[in-house]
């Protein structure tokens, strides 16, 4: 039972006791007063009538007249004159008067008044004794009315008490609501802090919970910093800080396979002359400085575009992956300029030759294929000396290449609802279905090719159509889930997450369908969560209460900041394929995943591995602490 209800009952009981007590006491004291007054009236009237009779002749007519006069003019139950020998000399009795109060009330609070009596003297002789009793029905009426009046006051008072009590309670307990919310948040492993209440008792509780939250927050940030260090160590090159070979190749591999990656792009390889010669010529420290300058120049270049990656393949080879870049771009030229800017001085001084070879790719190419094309371009560049060479063998040849064309195509597809959801199972540790992940596919033309998200999403983003696509995705998902009782997972974009109108549209749709919302999982990109942390919090705060689960996908690059999510109460993380790939051979990755799973579990999140290539890999990942697996090897 809630505290408010208990306090309400307490108030009701106290009020009832107080008022019923005063009702009973009031009635009793009124009754006592009335009895007293009636008794005095009886005695005094008896005395005065007896006194009158003592003075007057005692013939029966006079006595009877006196009696009648007193009786008829007054309010008496009876008046009797009894002689000294007990004989009744004269009497008047009233007929039964209709009661002026309910009989049950008269039985409950009876007014008992003794009669008044006095002696009548006839000279020295006793004439008799006068007995009289007043009517008590008027007293009953007064008592009854008084009780009714008190009852009315009781009702008014109780109502007033109730209203005031409610207002007061609400005021007093308003800090409690916040305390309860805080405790609930911690129960859901959202480690939030709230301002301390002014009420002493609540302040202590809130302070304790805040302390807990901050301690957990500290612990999480320490752990995630440790994890970040581990990630740097396993994924990055020690000298230059760019990605190391194995991780970079994982990323390239992912770009070649993933549905959500753009359909094609460029891989650039940058080769320095033989490092052994350089070391001899310039000294190792100079060479290291040069490598670092080149790496930072390439990193700056790579960071200019979302999704690009820079790696060091071996001692003298660097590489840049530029998904979404086409053969027509001026990328080779800009890359060359960046390289010149970074290490131009060394190139002039040492007559240093840096060769740049580029190869285009499309989804579905294999990694060795792409690497050999890039090598070929590099060889040509070395032969030709200086200028970048592009091998455009696998360049993607899309019918539409301009934004206007894409916008037209996308709008047509949206209008005609030429979108569909595919489904890939995500299984838990026992091999049961956690949910079906449903990436969207789109048909630009009727009966045309179904395009993967990666192929049209970047164009949709440029055309400002992403929010519309996401809304259609939700509609499709809801329609599907009406027929299919299994949980479904949709991918929403950073744009929708940040858009207030999209958010309200989502919550409006989900609010009406609580049982479907309970089965809906929503993936958001890891990068979006950290880039727009406030919008992300709003999104979670709005949709999570409706029952759906929210998690991050492609997690891996920002684990150092995972502590920042401790207040949000995320449900799950999906670990990027670039980390899980080849985990069996990479003990660093294993350690990293184990640590990540531990932190995520501490924050109340499940961890799901993406891109699992085989059942054995899935088993290994489960043994590392993953709660679910998905990928080509999982079905």
């Amino acid at each position: 039972m809630s505290l408010i209800r208990q306090l309400w009952i307490a108030i009701a009981v106290v009020t009832l006791l107080a008022f019923s007590g005063s009702l009973v006491l009031g009635t009793l004291s009124a009754r006592q007063y009335l009895e007293e007054q009636l008794r005095i009236k009886n005695v005094d009237n008896a005395t005065s009538l007896a006194l009158s009779m003592s003075q007057l002749p005692k013939d029966p007519v006079t006595v009877d007249l006196l009696l009648a006069a007193q009786f008829d003019a007054g309010h008496y139950e009876y008046i009797r004159v009894v002689g000294p020998d007990g004989k009744l000399l004269a009497a008047r009795e009233s007929k039964a008067v209709s009661p002026l109060a309910p009989t049950w009330f008269m039985a409950l609070a009876p007014i008992q008044v003794s009669e008044g009596s006095a002696q009548i003297q006839d000279g020295w002789r006793q004439f008799g004794t006068l007995h009289l009793k007043s009517l008590s029905s008027f007293a009953y009426r007064n008592l009854w009315h008084g009780t009714l009046e008190l009852l009315a006051w009781f009702a008014v008072g109780a109502t007033l008490c109730g209203v005031l009590g409610t207002a007061l309670l609400k005021r007093l307990l308003s800090p409690l609501d916040r305390v309860v919310d805080h405790a609930k948040a911690i129960g859901e492993r959202r480690f939030i802090t709230t301002p301390e209440s002014t009420t002493t008792e609540f302040r202590t509780v809130v302070a304790a919970m805040n302390q807990l939250s901050s301690r957990v927050g500290t612990m999480l940030s320490e752990e995630s910093a440790r994890l970040e260090a581990l990630r740097l160590q396993t994924q990055h090159d020690a000298v230059t800080g760019v990605l190391n070979r194995s991780h970079f190749l994982n990323i390239v591999d992912e770009a070649l396979e993933s549905e959500q990656a753009p359909a094609g792009g460029l891989l650039a390889m940058i080769r320095m002359p033989d490092l052994a010669d350089l070391n001899r010529e310039l000294g190792r420290s100079t060479v290291d400085a040069m490598l670092q300058k080149l790496a930072s120049g390439l990193t700056d270049f790579g960071n200019s575009q979302h999704g690009w990656a820079v790696g060091r393949l071996n001692g003298s080879d660097f590489a840049v992956l530029a998904p979404d870049a086409g053969p027509g771009d001026d990328l080779p030229l800009r890359l060359s300029e960046s390289v010149n800017l970074a290490v131009g001085e060394y190139m002039r001084n040492a007559e240093l030759q840096i060769a740049i070879g580029l190869a285009s790719y499309r989804r579905g190419n294999t990694l060795p294929q792409l690497l050999s094309h890039a090598d070929m371009a590099l060889s040509k560049a070395i032969e030709q000396g200086g200028h970048p060479v592009l091998e455009a063998v696998n360049a993607i040849l899309h019918p539409i290449t301009d934004l206007a064309g894409w916008r037209e195509g996308l709008c047509a597809a949206l209008d005609a609802r030429r979108l569909t959801l595919h489904a890939f199972p995500v299984l838990n540790a026992k091999g049961q279905l956690l949910h079906n992940e449903a990436p969207v596919r789109l048909q630009l033309e009727r009966n045309g090719e179904w395009l993967c998200a990666g192929e049209f999403m970047s164009w949709a983003a440029r055309a400002g159509l992403i929010e519309r696509i996401d809304l259609v995705v939700l509609e499709l998902a809801l329609a599907h889930m009406r027929k299919d009782s299994r949980p479904l997972c949709i991918n929403l974009s950073s744009e929708s997450m940040c858009s207030a109108s999209s958010l309200s549209a989502f919550s409006k749709q989900l609010a009406d369908l609580p049982d479907i919302a309970a089965r809906l999982w929503i993936d958001l990109p890891e990068t979006a969560a950290y880039a727009h942390i406030d919008a992300f919090r709003r999104f979670c705060a709005e949709l999570k209460p409706l029952g759906c689960r929210i998690g991050l996908e492609h997690v891996g690059q920002r684990v150092g900041q995972i502590g920042e999510l401790s207040e949000v109460g995320l449900d799950y993380l999906k670990i990027a394929r670039t980390i899980t790939r080849g985990v069996a051979l990479n003990t660093g990755s294993q350690t990293f995943l184990r640590g990540l799973a531990t932190i995520a579990h501490a924050m109340g999140m499940e961890v799901i591995a993406e891109g699992v290539g085989s059942a054995d890999e899935g088993k290994l990942l489960i043994s590392l602490g993953m709660d679910g697996v998905t990928g080509p090897g999982i079905s």
Partner: protein, 228 residues
Amino acid sequence: MQSRQFQSAAQNSAAAFALSLVMLLGGALAAPQFDRLQAIAASRYGEAGSSAVRAWRAMLRDAETEPDDQKLKRVNDFFNRRLRFIDDVEVWGEADYWATPLETLGRGAGDCEDFSIAKYVTLKALGIPEERMRLIYVRAQLGGPYSRLTQAHMVLGYYSTPNDEPVVLDNLISEIRPAATRTDLFPIFSFNAQGLWVGGGNTPAASPTERLSRWRDVLNRMREEGIE
């Protein structure tokens, strides 16, 4: 005639037993009550008061076994001899103060109603039924049958039978005489303590309105002093 109080008391066997027990012990006053009365008298009125109460006690003891007419005479004489007839204003500083027997004995003085009350209470203590006694307001003609000097006065009347005329216990004429021979007195109104304690009146001290009547007031004060 029997009063309602008497009837109800007779119906109540326990009360009747208690009443007869008190009467067997000789009047309504037991030894401890007397000790208390004496202590009060001593503290309030000194040795004179104490000795007056002692004498009263001795008189009660002596009269206990006597026939009713002897009791009347002894009580009448006791108070008429012992008390001075002085106006209330002089004794109490009030125009009309009804004193309890203890107060009257303690001061050794009183006016007509103090005499009558003291006699009434003492006779009641000696077992004379209340229905035979009346405190009677009389108009007293002073200075012989032709005198025009009259005074408001109070006497105690004793009715040996309900329908007869009473004998009068007075302090103007010390002798107990039949009412018919007291041509100097003209009765106006009479009362006794019967009927006062019926019903809810059994605990008179609880009700502040009791104080409003002089008669009840003095009865209450007597109770407080220990005289029933």
